[in-house]
Amino acid sequence: MASCWDRRRFLASVAGTVTWPTHGWAAAGAPDFLAATRDLDGWYRLVGLGADGDLRFQIDLPSRGHAAAAHPNRPEAVAFARRPGVFALVVDCAEGRALSTLEAPPGRHFYGHGAFSADGALLFTTENAFETGQGRLGVWDATSGYARLGEVASGGIGPHDVRLMPDGRTLAIANGGIRTHPRSGREKLNLATMRPNLSYVRPDDGTLLETIEPPHHLRLNSIRHLAVGSDPTVAVALQWQGDPADGMPLLAFHRRGDAAFRWAEAPAHLLAAMSGYAGSVAFDRSGTRAAITSPRGGRVMAWDVVGGNPDVWVRPDVCGIVADDTGWIATDGHGGVISLDRRLTATKAIRHESAFDNHLVSLHKHS
């Protein structure tokens, strides 16, 4: 059974022309991206920042956030707790208040990422059906208070990040391959047999269109985060579960139909300095060059989409990254918001007094 949610409601919601009685993201100060923060007093917030790093809005969160999904046309974000969280908060970023709460159904928890459909009618969330360990994609009705419509298989274990492909009909899903159970917290239960993959799923009927795994010697490379570039190429950011000093590649590219990933290579000592851990990934606006961050290595590295021409930039605890007009903007756990050009030269930097958590979410399409 590929699908266990009501497809007719999906089609109805897609077919019906939805006009929102709102003013879009301009009402929330027209932020360019969203981030989760922790301030000096230990409060967690969801904030909107402008391209120059200035604060456009901030909203308190009940606990530490991981990532957020931004509605394509309403100033509305769904902020996810860190895994294994069972709630997500729907926030009106213009009014600064919570609209509703998503609660994971019994036997499920969220992994911390989600994506909206192109029209904003549906929200998809990565989830763990933890008794069986199967990855799930929850489907929620964003037109009426985020009722749960159902779920489809994610195509693997441990789905973490999910992105809508430019066709508007396909989701790319990072199945990390690592099984966990809330009973044992974040403990990894299946490293000996883990098989991460990138899956392309059609959410309206749950069809698994294509799935691709790293080669055997990179089996311990957990696919965690995604970005979609031009062509469209998907960039996957990975976390190596073996010895960090192995210097394994932590970024790979894939296009639908390609039989294998293209790996972003660099001298082993440069990769080893990333400590086996990529935290976030983003294409630049051209969609032809991608950057990954490593908070553990305190570095950003960028490659061309063919996997060559690597650059390195050093910044302790750097993790969030999104494209801006000239390259990328990176954030870190010490409050830094730094503009980087396409060769990773820092061109501008400001510092907030709060720590930026794992991810930045762009409010521009296709970045």
Binding site: R38, H269, A273, P295, P316, D317, D332, G333, A346, N358
Partner: protein, 344 residues
């Protein structure tokens, strides 16, 4: 009423004692008392090494070359923990010492080069482009020592290779001193100013000192001691750092000296006497435990003689790191970071 007043007064005193430390002064002190003299001494020691490894290889004096090798590596151990800016740019610290070398890259690379005699040992620029596994102190150690002890560099290629590694070390050391006496010194001393895109606030220099110092202590616990300790059934004495030249414990001793000096120079004046004493005690007991290991021999021998003494040393270095995290960091208002500590 008197009691309440005393409490309020106490609160006031405690509160004011935790005022923001002078981070700019800490950075200045470290620069002038540790970094600049340390990098200059390292450069000088590598110049001595280069001279001792005379490229013509006609009058190499093996004992003098080994002394110069030890002197230069000692010089590196006094500053190697300062892995940011000049030491990190161009992966310089890895060019100088590729370690930890979990896959045995250096041994494999050096053996291959010796077997094929295929490396640009006469061409400085081309040599500088070889992989880090072919260069630096671990490679030089393989050229001057084997499992049984010193190897006289009387073979012409081996000698020329040792000379090339030595000259390459001096080149990197010169780049480091140039950066720390020029552009990076400017960046280091202008933390928080508008055009500084490296240190965005004065406290970021203190943060960096703290994190790299902690990093080298953690690395010592985990790799310098933890890797050879292995497990009870699989002890791995041959994975001890620099064991061929008998330097394994010497490195730990030099790291204790360098990290304590760094912490006390940068942060000592801002710490309360009690915090300073706790830190000094932790270092003193680690040195005592190191002496207890060293009296048995270098690390591989000591491991065979008394595993427990090595474990005690490991724990006492771990205690320094705990004191840093629990006492020193909070006292200075700095910590290791937010994202680096966990994963998702």
């Amino acid at each position: 009423m008197k009691f309440l007043a005393a409490l309020l007064l106490l609160g006031f005193v405690v509160g004011s004692a935790r005022a923001e430390p002078d981070h700019a002064a800490a950075a200045d002190r470290l620069l002038s008392k540790v970094i600049q003299p340390g990098t200059a001494a390292f450069e000088e020691a590598t110049a001595t090494l280069r001279q001792a490894a005379a490229p013509e290889c006609t009058d190499v004096e093996p004992a003098a070359l080994r002394d110069a090798f030890h002197g230069a590596w000692d010089g590196w151990m006094a500053i190697q923990h300062l892995r940011f800016g000049p030491l990190e740019d161009e992966s310089r610290s890895l060019q100088i010492a590729f370690w930890p070398d979990s896959r045995g890259t250096v041994g494999r690379t050096v053996s291959r080069i010796l077997a094929t005699e295929n490396a640009p040992v006469e061409d400085t620029d081309a040599f500088a482009k070889l992989s880090v596994g072919a260069r630096g102190f671990p490679a030089l150690e393989r050229l001057l020592f084997d499992d049984s002890g010193p190897v006289p560099p009387d073979d012409a290629f081996r000698c020329a290779y040792a000379a090339a590694v030595s000259a390459d070390l001096e080149r990197v050391a010169t780049e480091i001193t140039a950066a720390w006496n020029g552009p990076f010194a400017m960046i280091w001393t202008t933390a928080g100013e508008d055009d500084n895109a490296v240190f965005l606030a004065p406290k970021e220099t203190s943060q960096r000192i703290f994190v790299v110092t902690l990093g080298t202590l953690d690395e010592t616990v985990q790799h310098r001691l933890g890797t050879p300790l292995g497990t009870l059934v699989a002890v791995r004495p041959k994975l001890a750092e620099a064991r061929r030249s008998g330097r394994s414990l010497r490195h730990i001793s030099l790291i204790l000296d360098a990290t304590e000096r760094t912490l006390m120079t940068a942060f000592g004046p801002a710490l309360e006497a009690e915090d300073r004493a706790v830190l000094a005690d932790a270092y003193a007991s680690a040195r005592r435990d190191l002496d207890r290991v060293a009296e048995l021999g270098d690390l591989p021998v000591a491991l065979a003689e008394s595993r427990i003494r090595v474990e005690v040393l490991q724990q006492s270095i771990e205690r320094i790191a705990i004191v840093m995290r629990a006492e020193i960091g909070p006292a200075l208002g700095i910590s290791k970071g937010f994202n680096a500590a966990d994963g998702d």
